[in-house]
Symmetry: C2
């Protein structure tokens, strides 16, 4: 972060989120409605066990299976139940410009530390000019100096990506507001190109997997936003806190190994199965269509592999 940007942030009274962020899994009741109580409990557990921020309503939150109203109700509940809004970076990028504006304004109004914004993802092959107009319209319509917008690059899922040229143009037009990116390309060369081009210009880069956490920090990144942060936040945070020590590579190898176990299974169902197992709360395993929960066999082998790896979620079962 350069001095000019530091001044802007101090002027706006905002300390930016850094460290380990989890795209918090969203619990559902039997009728598939979101469960605000379980949700707030898990958010608080994460903040007490290594997460410095919560990227609620991310891909792994099944956020794209929630309506805009459902997201807003959950977000208000979190803040009302004592989760500090400055630690929240909700996903607010929708297919419809008007929905993105509505969710973003709502998050800023609640005092959220940032928003993590997908590009509109239905129409494929759209030009950067159209994506620029989308983000620009959101920023202009929200019209609030408190807004910190993080661009969400996840081409394997969204199919529509965020190019370096688009970042450059947005950063130039909206310095301070365009605050960073999550790179879930899974392609280190892309993350490195992003870091090389923008890390020194007040643009905070978070790899979308802890596999790239140490490399990212060494390249000027600010942490990571990672699915497995839902379950392995303490160990991932240990890498973040110790990245400049002699222990760093060993700590990184450990979290990479745990990730490899979880990744053998469908990610969102696996995360929920882990929370259900270690939290002794079977209802947590429920996913919304079009996702499908793990089979009993998958649940068993996942838990067994994690136990063999020394994995734990201390205090989750209450």
């Amino acid at each position: 972060m350069n001095t000019a940007t530091d001044s802007r942030n101090i002027a706006a009274g905002a300390k930016r989120i850094t460290g380990v962020l989890s795209p918090v899994v969203t619990p559902f009741k039997r009728d598939l409605s979101p469960d605000p109580e379980r949700y707030a409990r898990h958010c608080k557990w994460l903040l007490a066990h290594g997460c410095s921020g919560l990227a609620v309503f991310g891909t792994n939150s099944e956020a794209n299976s929630l309506s805009a109203d459902e997201r807003m109700i959950l977000l208000e509940h979190l803040v009302q139940s004592g989760v500090p809004p400055e630690k929240l970076m909700p996903g607010t990028g929708m297919c419809a410009l008007t929905d993105s504006v509505r969710l973003t304004a709502h998050a800023v109004g609640l005092g959220c530390g940032g928003v993590l914004m997908l590009p509109p993802f239905y129409y494929k092959g759209v030009p950067d000019e159209g994506l620029y107009r989308n983000f620009s319209e959101v920023i202009e319509r929200v019209g609030d100096a408190r807004l910190r917008l993080y661009l969400y690059h996840i081409p394997p899922v969204a199919q529509v990506g965020i190019s370096l040229g688009l970042i450059e143009r947005l950063l130039k037009a909206y310095p301070g507001t365009v605050a960073g990116a999550k790179d879930s390309s899974g392609d280190w060369s892309n993350t490195k190109a992003m870091l090389d081009a923008f890390a020194k210009h007040g643009f905070d880069i978070f790899p979308g997997s802890e596999v790239f956490l140490l490399d990212g920090l060494r390249g000027g990144g600010k942490g990571c936003i990672t699915a497995t942060g839902n379950v392995n936040s303490g160990a991932i945070d240990a890498v973040y806190r110790n990245w400049q020590t002699a222990e760093a590579d060993r700590l990184q190898a450990a979290i990479t190994a745990t990730r490899a176990i979880v990744q053998k299974y469908p990610m969102m169902a696996a995360l929920k199965a882990i929370v259900a197992h270690w939290g002794k709360d079977a209802q947590w395993a429920t996913v919304r269509p079009p996702l499908v929960e793990l089979t009993p066999g998958q649940r068993g082998s996942l838990a067994a592999e994690l136990v063999a790896d020394g994995f734990d979620m201390p205090g989750l079962a209450g």
Copy 2:
């Protein structure tokens, strides 16, 4: 359509939509808000010029750039302004189950002849079991015998498709309600497989392009739902009305040629440019981000090519 299904439809008082349907382009005002007046005018022009139904809120309607509320307001306006609801087949498939239920119940409540439903399209690589649960939940939650659900298969855009196995399972579980499909795969072999498997079982198949209209009708299809139906509806309807005559192949060749001209340009921007040009109403050219309107050069060459082809939109300029 078999006799058993005919009986069910007669019992439910529903005559199914057949023929040429247009995914109606959605006009925007200067501030990018939807324009209900221009919208209703275009819908009425289409019904008077070859369209037997309107697949409003389709891909080419920029429906995925509209919020659920924006869609509902537009749909209510159409019905209030005299567009017969039994001719409407609105798109109601959203990423979030709760949005799909809400839009579908709203459309059925207004008396719409059907709904055209995308699968939830954010999460990729989801199993058919998850997609089955999605459609099943929508049908069960809407819980209305008037519902006629058409499945929307458009893998080039949605990336998530509708397999033959999924159709078979849904049709078996919800006969009469699961009424058909639009196949926008652009792959005739898939359309033919759909026709061969399901056309005789009360499942109405509409290719997603008029290029396949005649082949589709000869294979037991019921018409087509096509982007260029927004501008070339009369000529496409001529194929539909004359498909069993000696003129059919010549008429088909003509609409295929017109489609080829329009397809050289980004489709949605091109359709709106054509409506703006022949309707002498420049505001029609506006698209919402992430789309971008045609350049003046593109507009000029598109119009010139269409004029050379003998294209017209009679009465559009009012």
